[in-house]
Symmetry: C2
Subunit: 503 residues, 2 copies
């Protein structure tokens, strides 16, 4: 019996390894498409990506996987923790893929590419009507999928669960309710403070060549392993994992904006460190990835905001920046710190400051939830969007392009994904609290220029486990608590009340 | 019946398309490994390449292919020319792969990687003994393979046939005999001429940045489509085809050598044009590649030598070079032309001039042929090599590293491949003759700076057909003759007797 299990485990790992090889190839083909591929190869590359998706689909839903699941599911308690997680993950993906009838999925794939194209056109022409019928379809597909996936309370739970296992509307309503209240209170405080923050030195010309040098410096500083990853350049920065020895991140360069590159590098670098630190032992288990979208985002946001926008970290990098960019010569650390943490409610999510960012997410969550529950209609979306932006952020979009049409997620049918970004902030706050419990000088001592403690802590507590734990298990293991907004809100409060001390 | 054939044709094309997708992915993974991949990913990437090779092997030798061949082989005369060529190519690859017992092939794969490593060590330590037993094994494997492949007269024919269908020792002995004689006669003439060629201006510093700009200029000039291909940088230049819309070439840059980059670009560009010009109609037939190694090399050498080293072409590029590199300011066209075509027998094949290059190949051919026929022994190779180099080229290697150990081909078991390089020269001479028959001003008018005529001629007569014809068929179709050394030798004679007019 024992021998039989070992043999079967080897078989299932060999099968997962094949799927992982195809996933890596798919990631590589995507990377190359964004970074190197010549223009005219687009159609051919789409065929290649389609071919790979089809092969991955076959391997993930075939008889072989069913055989493995039939064999292992009744024996889960005889398996090690890692092997148990491996089988559970295999099952989750099998179920998610297998439950959708092939015909429906094919229709969805076609509708999705039409929807993405329509969104692009609508955004360009600032005409929501062009996108409306497609968005309707994307919602209907997702409602149908949710029913196939199954759920206990809310139909939207089924979608949330794909990106954040165990997450529900019930929990999110509570968490996001607290978060919204806390942030809105702070915003009022900030507005009342009448504090003036100088950002003049940010409006300057910053040579791309020098920014590229800065990127390298930053990646080294945060301990991104340059021999196990590379940096590329794309309009929208992203991170791609081709295995823990080959992690690829991108950034963008704008000659009139230094901060955008800096914080893109640190953000994607945070994602990248997570992937690089995943234990070799997980290779071939399907667990050699992040635990969830929210946990992944917690790492990028921990680096970008909690570390990257801290006074201690800025103290490390300011001398370097002064040396390279003459406009910074007279900038004092406090000025730099305040400029970097300047709060101003705005229209575009991807350009939002640390504090108001989560409000953008909460607006999307509230809308998605109602859309999937058919409590609001697509045609009313521009109005609802604008009302919420006015209510929470006090800003009004001049056009739908910078309003309801600003994000591509819905056009691609990604419902349930947005909450990950705000969950990332919340988790990051909890991790910070725990780090400080373990070493109250962990952040203070950053100013010495050494990120080893943080790096090792995240690696040992979070990164190395990959997807071995669900987000719920992980946050409990690391902090002893369930998800809680307390620590992130406290962190925001401490930080921004100090910056925005009333005059 | 007709309908059945059409259906079966669709099936076989779908199958070939799968193989082509995997080939493209394999090419992409290789490209990325050479250009972008971080260092620590090497082991993982080797696994990926191994996985792909295994899948390609399965698809190329499986029951499905056997079924197609059983069905189509008796019906070849009912197929269109393209479909017939497609089935024949499928059969050639099936046979070549299938005839080797799997066990033997696996042993070979392992022996090969040991052999490659041993060669590298041997070359570095200048110790042929380290490589000797491995070379012995590579030869024995190839003799065994040749027997499995089958041949009519000479065991070496079976190996030649893999790279150049229809080629035999009998033909090559004749062709290479003529070539050797013609080149040796010319060499005597050149040596007797006592002509002095000034190459001083080639010894200078040429900024890499400017050389990179020059690469772009040259690729545009030869009409390489920058939207259907890219240029990379590697120590050893190569061309890789990911389909006719995605052709990748590389070059290398040496600050003290301008010509090396120029002629690498034009050489690989010639390979690249071939791939870019292959007709879309061949996609999915397995014929969307060059006709053979020799024909491919004829295109790169046609561009590199016949075009690239012509006075007319140099007249186009000299003003550009003068503008960019100050050391060229006073260089006259005639000086440039003579310096570029300077002949000097030397030790290293890859650095040889146009004239003596083929002698390097003939030496290798003569040795390979005898090795595979067991007429000479591996232990005697360094002596035989040095004797031949002394006899044909009048040069003596100071060490085996720059003698018998200089090329990696044999360490990788590639016997029968070397002749392609010289065949390329011979074919190129025949194509030149035909072009001039069609338009006697084709080369003369190059000096106007427009390569369209050449580009279109090669595309319409050769490139667009991909592998639809065997090399024998192609040369006959294009020139009305079989392979013949006459034209290449006449071209060499005309060119070099003019340059080396006796004083
Ligand atoms: Zn992120
Ligand atoms: Zn070549």
């Amino acid at each position: 019996m024992r021998e039989e299990i070992i043999e079967k485990l080897n078989e299932v790992k060999a099968h997962i390894t094949k799927i992982e090889e195809l996933n890596k190839l798919s990631a590589l083909a995507y990377w190359d498409m964004k970074i190197s591929m010549p223009k005219k190869a687009l159609e051919q590359r789409s065929n290649t990506l389609g071919y790979l998706a089809g092969e991955i689909f076959k391997l993930s839903t075939g008889k072989e996987v069913k055989g493995f699941l039939d064999y292992f599911m009744p024996k889960l308690d005889q398996l090690s923790q890692t092997n148990r997680a491996m089988i559970k993950k295999l099952k989750k993906e099998y179920d998610e893929t297998k439950k959708i009838p092939e015909k429906t999925y094919k229709e969805y794939t076609i509708a999705k590419s039409l929807s993405e194209a329509a969104w692009e056109e609508a955004k360009e022409k600032n005409d929501f009507k062009i996108f409306e019928p497609h968005l309707e379809k994307m919602i209907n597909f997702n409602v149908e999928f949710a029913k196939y996936y199954g759920y206990e309370e809310n139909v939207y739970d089924a979608l949330l669960n794909r990106y954040e296992e165990g997450m529900t509307v019930k929990k999110l309503d509570e968490i996001f309710g607290e978060l919204k209240e806390g942030i809105l209170d702070l915003l009022k405080y900030i507005e009342a403070s009448n504090k003036n923050i100088n950002r003049d030195f940010l409006h300057d010309k910053f040579k791309i060549k020098k920014q590229k040098k800065l990127s390298k410096y930053l990646l080294e500083l945060i301990k991104f392993d340059g021999e196990a990853g590379i940096l590329g350049e794309t309009t929208h920065p992203f991170t791609l994992d081709l295995g823990n020895k080959d992690v690829r991140i991108t950034t963008h360069y704008h000659e009139d904006d230094l901060l955008s590159n800096i914080f893109s590098i640190i953000h994607e670098g945070g994602h990248g460190l997570y992937e690089q630190h995943i234990s070799d032992e997980l290779i071939g288990t399907g667990l050699e990835h992040g635990a969830s979208m929210g946990i992944h985002e917690s790492q990028s946001r921990f680096y970008e905001n909690i570390i990257g926008r801290s006074e201690e970290f800025l103290k490390i990098i300011l001398p370097y920046i002064k040396k390279e960019f003459s406009g910074f010569k007279k900038v004092k650390l406090k000025e730099f710190y305040e400029a970097v943490n300047y709060v101003k409610p705005s229209l575009i999510r991807t350009e939002a400051d640390e504090l108001t960012y989560s409000l953008h997410i909460i607006i999307r969550y509230e809308i998605e939830k109602k859309l999937i529950n058919k409590e609001i209609e697509v045609k009313d979306l521009p109005r609802i969007w604008n009302e919420k932006y006015m209510e929470y952020l006090g800003v009004k979009a001049k056009s739908d392009s910078e309003g309801i049409l600003q994000d591509m997620h819905w056009s691609a049918g990604d419902f349930g994904y947005f909450p990950s970004y705000a969950l990332g902030n919340i988790y990051a706050g909890q991790f910070l609290n725990q780090i400080l419990k373990d070493n109250e000088l962990a952040i203070t001592e950053l100013e010495n220029g050494d990120l080893s403690y943080i790096d090792n802590w995240l690696k040992d507590k979070i990164h190395k486990y990959g997807a071995r734990y669900t987000p719920e298990e992980l946050i409990k293991n690391v902090t002893g608590e369930d998800i809680s907004t307390k620590y992130f809100l406290r962190y925001l409060d401490d930080k921004y009340k100090k910056i925005y001390t009333p005059l």
